[in-house]
């Protein structure tokens, strides 16, 4: 972790001129690629690339007890693994605060948009429900994990089937879903705010803002991170930009 001061100065200088190191405009996203159904053993899976960043999400399901306060709903759990394969800065061992924040923000986007219809994952009220495990492996880290992981999770869920056969409960059926959230992340450095940060921009970032937008353009979850600040105006601008940009991402996701 940690960007050299030379590189940081370079980014700062470019930012003042309205430029980014890879030539993108401040509101320009990198190319997105989604491959679905890449893991045989998983109930659903997707490999998502945003530029050189690649993450792989796999869905597994199991039968368990519901939470006491939602006896008629299935449960979900989201875990992002920052495995050392993906970056020289990731370490093995229990997840650190970075990975926990990331997992929880991805989880909230899915949960708060009610993307998984958990009420349809009840088998016996109060006794047996489906538990959906969303596990996300980062394979290549070149910036903007928040959006990549969120997108992979959604695509994998859209690829998933309920494994009734494996549990001798009839035929497999598609995962009951509503509209997916789309996550859009901005970072701020030296006064500039850019969408979809590359690795260098992630490392130079003073503040980060992730917005999960639903199909109607409403907000479902949000997270401001890092020690820098945003003005109220900047927050509102980010939201407007996220609503616009997320439409393109949604087309790729739903395509």
């Amino acid at each position: 972790m940690g960007i050299s001061s030379v590189k940081k100065d370079y980014l700062y200088r470019l930012a003042k001129e309205g430029k980014r190191p890879d030539g993108r405009a401040f509101n320009e996203y990198r190319p997105i690629k989604i491959e679905r159904g890449v893991i045989n053993m998983a109930e659903g899976s997707a490999r998502v690339s945003i530029g050189h960043t690649t993450v792989l999400a796999g869905i597994k399901m199991d039968i368990g007890e519901p939470y006491p306060d939602t006896p008629e709903e299935g449960a979900m759990s989201t875990a992002v693994e920052l495995i050392p394969l993906a970056s020289p800065d990731f370490e093995s061992g229990p997840p650190r605060a970075d990975a926990i924040e990331l997992s929880r923000v991805v989880d909230r986007g899915i949960r708060e948009s009610k993307f998984i219809q958990l009420e349809k994952l009840c088998i016996e009220p109060g006794e047996k429900v489906w538990i959906v495990f969303i596990d996300i492996h980062v394979l290549d880290y070149d910036g903007n994990l928040f959006d990549a992981c969120s997108l992979a999770a959604s695509a994998a869920l859209m690829n998933a089937k309920i494994p009734n056969e494996r549990f001798e409960m009839g035929e497999d059926v598609p995962m009951p879903l509503s509209d997916p959230p789309v996550s859009c992340t901005f970072v701020k450095y030296n006064g500039a705010i850019v969408v979809d940060p590359s690795l260098d921009e992630d490392e130079a970032a003073e503040a980060r803002h992730t917005i999960a937008v639903d199909k109607k353009g409403d907000i479902r979850a949000m997270q401001k991170g890092l020690s820098g600040s945003f003005t109220v105006e900047e927050i509102k601008n980010n939201i407007n930009n996220a609503r616009i940009i997320s439409k393109d991402i949604r087309k790729i996701l739903e395509g």
């Binding site: 929880r104 708060e112 907000i219 949000m222 020690s227 509102k236």
Partner: protein, 236 residues
Amino acid sequence: MELIKDGKRIDGRAPDELRPIKIEAGPLYRADGSCYLEWGGNKIMAAVYGPKEAIPRHIQDSTKAVINARYNMASFSVEDRKRPGPDRRSQEISKITAEALENVILTEMFPRAVIDVNIEVLDADAGTRCAGITAAAVALADAGIPMRDIPVACAAGKVDGVVVLDLLGDEDKKGDADLPVAIAPRSEEILLLQMDGHMTVEEFDEALELALKGCREISKLQKEALLKKYKTFEEE
């Protein structure tokens, strides 16, 4: 369960009204700075130690002090006993709390140092992360840590379709959205902002404005608490 009835909330508050808040600066004897905060059903103790040399060395930053925040819920602070030790939720809150506080602390003055900020939730009724940041800010000031402003936090949200200030437990559980915000009150820059639930952009704008209003009110209480302590000192 109806959360809003005749324009009033379940505890009788108006939508833009805060719960009662009591702030005491410096209640602890050992800590370098401390704060006890009661905010509705929440009871929070915050303590600050430092700046002191960061140990082990590999956590030192040669250019500034490291802010080590620890948000912790007491086992008995919630309805179903919480197992001691950090869970994923408290680790996330500790991280974003440290980041929000780091913004205002003049960390460059203390290279290689650490400032420990301990936030203990003793009794919980929604809004503990905002209460924790608010208390920690007072504890930092009480410890004499140089800051460019005293941060303050407050949540707004949406219940029964109405945008409201400062959710209590049942509103948080059954409501539509929650929006905790922390600001540096002088510039009103946003230090922490999270949202979950469902809000249109218009609702969000309204909720954010309400949260800022809450922050402004609480900021006054923070300063009164600090003033009161120093007055007491002078009188002694």
